[in-house]
Symmetry: C2
Subunit: 317 residues, 2 copies
């Protein structure tokens, strides 16, 4: 039995240590990560994957922690992936570190992992999807994928979940609400956190009004707007119920398969993109002199892109 | 002379109508767009490309308009590209429409174009780079690339410029400032707009303090922080001077070539990525059944990605 086989079977057997090691492979990327992913892939697709996104300051980590605790009380073993693509320049996973410090870290029934961007084009979304798979193969269900911030990457990563929960909060300025435009449209459920604050009724009313304005998608019901106070665990059980109800609806309406097919397509594309990005930096493929010619305007960028694809072909055949 | 040759030579000759038509090709993407880009590429690299980014509400469009007017007074012919990747779901180029309505639209020495996202993975950044090239080949110099919002895409697009101006404004909340973290690090010049408002001195002082905290990059001076009131055209000439001085510095420090080489590399990669994205949707390559097998967990996503790259090879050889 080689390293890969051993690690894969330990992950499936539920070893937390093996899962952590596998996630380190997956984060580093490359062939070993791909092999591990492929090996475990047939064991995946069983977990309910829940994306949690929303403005900074909306209390997402606290809410995820409360949801995990509620799921634990229902006898589930939970996975949490906290993804922070906020800056391609600084790195570091502040959020994950913050989460690790709390009481959940002592419960082996909750596995928490944080991931930060490496500045790779699309690499983080690929790694996040692989990480979810590993947790899925390890029997974690549900798996929460929490993203920091509200940019397009966050939307993309949260959007790969079965159920997307968008967290809002009373008292943030209009600017922040405006940024959220793209996020609104991927929400399956809206959670208004810190609902004991002034302005909660107004934001709930506003969200409901906005939702009626969105173009109706066939077979898709208007997302519910749920109030909660995560820090006091109020409304969290009801939110977890709503998340479960959404999955039931997906299954009943034959909407789960198309949703996962779309997710699979994006994922295949991301992996192919990452292969190209790696090829660009691979000294054996000699792309640097070509790029220098592009910079000097001796060669067009489209011709160089074709050369990159051809180099990949010659290297891999 | 075929369509492409005619259009290319009309663009180089400075025809505004031909430039507009070429940009429509470039926005649509595909082979025709690539051919036009490649044809014009040797005529590019002459313009000073200036990226303008910053928080929503910071008055970027007004500032770009004022900068364009100042450049006109110096006898330059200006290009403006307003890029709006804020939502992959809604589309539409609000900003460009707003710009088009103003006095500059009557001056043929200022060419304005807006571009919105099409939901393509990386497609907008590719199209934006091609659009800048077309304006460059048409003799526009300087070219302003204005991005709406502060996400990673905006950072990426603004970051492809020779000089990046990050616009701040007094009176926005801390949340918005926090989101800006990734943007701070790509700034060559900081412009504090609406500097007649209360709090301007504070934000200027804060920016200067923050800049001293950034890790020093070799050969890179600390970015200047410039105050302006774009709506009253105050401080705009000085800002344009600072932008020009930055280009002089780049040239004097032999920093322009490495910067453009890095830009060329990202660009080649983006084009290759877009080729893959198109291949995924190309019915002739039969990727859909493969993706369906991935969704059913019969085939791993990494194996499917290899199949996509192979399909592209077989189609293109």
């Amino acid at each position: 039995m080689n390293d890969l086989d051993r690690l894969a079977s330990q992950i499936v057997a539920g070893s937390v240590r093996a899962l952590a090691r596998g996630l380190t492979w997956v984060e580093a990327g490359g062939e070993r990560a791909a092999d591990l992913s492929e090996r475990l892939y047939p064991q995946t697709g069983r977990a309910h994957v829940i994306g949690i996104t929303g403005s900074p300051g909306s209390g997402k980590s606290t809410l995820v922690r409360a949801l995990a605790r509620a799921a634990r009380q229902r006898g589930r073993t939970v996975g949490i992936l906290a993804v922070d693509p906020s800056s391609p320049y600084s790195g570091g996973a502040i959020l994950g570190d913050r989460i690790r410090m709390n009481d959940l870290a002592l419960d082996p029934g909750v596995f928490i992992r944080s991931m930060a961007t490496r500045g790779a084009l699309g690499g983080l979304a690929r790694a996040a999807a692989d990480a979810v798979d590993l947790m899925d193969a390890a029997g974690r269900d549900p798996i929460f994928v929490e993203t920091v911030g509200v940019g397009q990457d966050e939307v993309e990563i949260a959007g790969t979940a079965d159920t997307v929960v968008v967290v809002s909060v009373p008292g943030l300025g209009d600017d922040v609400q405006a940024i959220k435009a793209g996020v609104l449209e991927i929400a399956d459920i809206h959670a208004v956190n810190k609902a004991d604050r002034e302005g909660a009724d107004r934001i709930i009313a506003e969200l409901r009004a906005m939702l009626t304005l969105l173009p109706a998608r066939e077979g898709v019901r208007v997302p519910p707007v749920m109030a909660c106070v995560a820090a006091r665990e109020e409304g969290v059980d009801a939110l977890l119920d709503a998340i479960g109800a959404h999955m039931d609806e997906l299954k009943a309406g034959d909407a789960l398969e198309p949703r996962r097919a779309k997710r699979a397509q994006q994922r295949v594309l991301r992996i192919a993109h990452e292969t190209l990005t790696r090829a660009m930096g691979d000294p054996a493929l000699h792309m640097a002199p070509l790029v220098a010619r592009v910079a000097r305007r001796e060669l067009g960028p489209h011709a160089a892109a074709r050369a990159l694809l051809a180099a990949l072909r010659d290297a891999k055949t």
